[in-house]
């Protein structure tokens, strides 16, 4: 029964971060702030959900095979901790080189050089 509470806490925390990432993704004003919201909420939500699932698997199935499966589940989080910042950075770089301008509150240009020459 204790493992149900612990897994439920991890899954609820991961779901909260997914929810906040989705709300930021729908409501933020420009591309870079939306990328910020998804890049953070994505990574932490997946880490928490995967930690809860791996913990549940090793407690329920307490054998060597269960341990191997838990390590496999945890390797999703390890891989995604490397992959998600890399993907976000590559996407941001290609957006910046394509000339997407950062949003400012008064509509003023944030930078004059670099990024966007073609208006």
């Amino acid at each position: 029964m204790v493992i149900a509470i612990i897994t439920g806490f991890f899954l609820a925390a991961g779901f909260f971060f997914f929810l906040s990432g989705t709300v930021g993704f729908l409501r933020f004003p420009d591309l870079y702030s939306r990328m910020h919201a998804t890049g953070k909420g994505d990574t932490l939500g997946l880490l928490l959900c995967v930690a809860g699932l791996a913990l549940y698997n090793i407690v329920v199935d307490c054998t060597w095979l269960g341990l191997v499966q838990s390590v496999k589940i945890a390797s999703i989080a390890v891989f995604w901790f490397v992959a998600s910042p890399t993907a976000t950075h590559a996407l941001l770089r290609s957006a910046f080189e394509s000339g997407v301008r950062p949003w400012t509150k008064d509509g003023r240009r944030l930078m004059e050089k670099g990024g966007n020459k073609t208006e």
Binding site: L26, V50, I73, F79, S84, E97, V100, N116
Partner: protein, 88 residues
Amino acid sequence: MSQLFLIVSIGISLLIFLCLYRAVFGPTVFDRIIGAGFVGTKTAILICLIGFIYGRIDMFVDLALAYSILNFIGTIIVSKFFVQKGAR
């Protein structure tokens, strides 16, 4: 315990539908790519949860791992593809 997994799966599915709004109607093409990547991340978790619901986590964890790797590679390739040459 299976009901908890089912409830979380339904919640994540609703979040996927919310993300599909931005992935379909995004102002730029990069919004659509981010939306597709975010949906893919949540789908990896969803595959793990479905494996626990069906009791076949030994099969579904490989699917989730392969899906997250394909999601990463797809995002990288598309972000390389959509750089407009000459904009800089």
